[in-house]
């Protein structure tokens, strides 16, 4: 009996030792694996949409069109308000101005079907459909159907080591009284992304938009502050307005190479690439 009991004790000890070794190996493996944070709820997840939140001060759901009454330059930010450019950016601006003097077009990448990107996509001469949910605002420009999402559900900007940088950047919004404040960053570093004619954007571009609805909901006003320490000094400020369009729905608009072949405006010899 005693010998039998001893054998059982010894067997249990061996089993315990084996379990301990196995557990240690599992812990070591777990520590070696990258830590995956829990997935945040999608902006369209019912559990996110139904969370208790203060009522939004306004709902900008609708179709909006840039107020181009100031004329063509009103669609852009400059040139009067362009801040002091850094030397490399100034080279582009100078080349753009020189091309204009010669009756040429400098680096019209949007015409060549590159994405316009934020902020210029907002001021293209095309309507923008905006759909506001409690958790996000979906903005779809009719031009190239470019989509921009402004998240309102309290999420932070994505880890810069993880985020996929884009022409429209990543926009996070919060309510400040009757104003929606949107911070956009995580832009792509691409030489085809421009802030204005002859003014490049970099991956350090950061935009703060203060959005108000005025004129009994018929007008959207956005005050923008742009910083990009790679391309200019200090802040670049501008205010633009958009008018509500109730008699137009956006459609599919592609920028197609074969279309451009038929347009001298994009294929002519006047272009400086």
């Amino acid at each position: 009996m005693i010998r039998s009991a001893s054998r059982r004790v010894a067997g249990a000890l061996v089993l315990a030792a084996g379990l301990a070794i196995g557990a240690a190996q599992l812990c070591a493996q777990a520590q070696a694996q990258p830590q995956t944070p829990p997935e945040p709820l999608s902006a369209l997840a019912p559990a996110n949409l139904s969370k208790s939140r203060p009522a939004a001060p306004f709902n900008l759901t609708g179709n909006w069109f840039i107020d181009n009454s100031p004329g063509i330059q009103g669609w852009l930010f400059g040139p009067a308000t362009i801040p002091k450019l850094k030397p490399e950016a100034q080279k582009h601006r100078d080349a753009y101005l020189q091309a204009g003097k010669e009756g040429k077009v400098y680096r019209d990448d949007i015409g060549a079907c590159w994405p316009a990107g934020v902020p210029i996509i907002m001021t293209r001469v095309w309507p923008i459909a905006m759909i506001q949910m409690p958790t996000a605002i979906y903005m779809i420009s009719e031009f190239m159907n470019s989509m921009r999402v402004v998240y309102l559900d309290g999420r932070p900007h994505t880890d810069p080591d993880v985020v996929v940088r884009t022409f429209n950047g990543e926009s996070i919004g919060r309510w400040d009284g009757d104003t929606l404040v949107v911070e956009t960053k995580n832009f792509i570093n691409d030489p085809h992304h421009w802030v204005d004619q002859g003014v490049p954007a970099s991956d350090e571009l950061r935009i703060i938009e203060r959005i108000r609805m005025i004129n009994d909901g018929k007008t959207l006003e956005i005050a923008m502050t742009l910083t990009d320490p790679k391309n200019w000094e200090g802040e670049w400020k501008g205010v633009r307005r958009w008018n509500r369009v109730d008699d137009h729905d956006i459609g599919e608009v592609e920028c197609l190479p074969d279309l451009n072949e038929h347009l001298q405006s994009t294929s002519s010899k006047v272009h400086v690439r």
Binding site: V105, V125, D247, L263, Q264, S265, H271
Partner: protein, 131 residues
């Protein structure tokens, strides 16, 4: 332009902003060229509609002109339809020419064989003149 094309005449113009996907700087908005010719093709599509017109030069040789228009969004509001012109139609088209001297321009007006005149107006959305 008169030197190049028998059917082209030069007049003065002013600009109207319309839906576009490119810089307008390629065109000389201070000039207009009147093209009297025959439609080769009319393409109804986004972001631009375009017309190709065969225009005889001084020696009677036909030169193919490319004419760029705004999107159907505006044209429909201005009374256009996709079949309002077709290949073979005799038309008069007024354009702002491209600065390079190439046979192309951005649209100003179209006169059909029956005398109807088409433009891109109304040229804006969301403003009083879009109604």
């Amino acid at each position: 332009m008169k030197k190049v094309l028998f059917g082209a005449a030069l007049v003065l113009a002013c600009a109207v902003p319309v839906l576009a996907h490119h810089s307008p700087a390629a065109f000389d908005r201070t000039k207009e060229v009147k093209l009297v010719g025959t439609v080769k093709e009319f393409r109804w599509q986004n972001p631009h509609t375009w017309i190709e017109v065969l225009v005889p030069d001084e020696k009677g040789k036909e030169v193919l002109w490319g004419v760029e228009l705004t999107s159907p969004t505006y044209l429909v509001r201005a009374g256009w339809k996709s079949n309002i012109i077709k290949p073979g139609d005799k038309v008069t088209v007024v354009v702002n020419p491209v600065r390079s001297g190439e046979p192309a321009g951005i649209f100003r007006s179209l006169t059909l064989a029956d005398g109807r005149v088409l433009t891109e107006r109304p040229a804006r959305l969301g403003t009083a003149d879009s109604k």
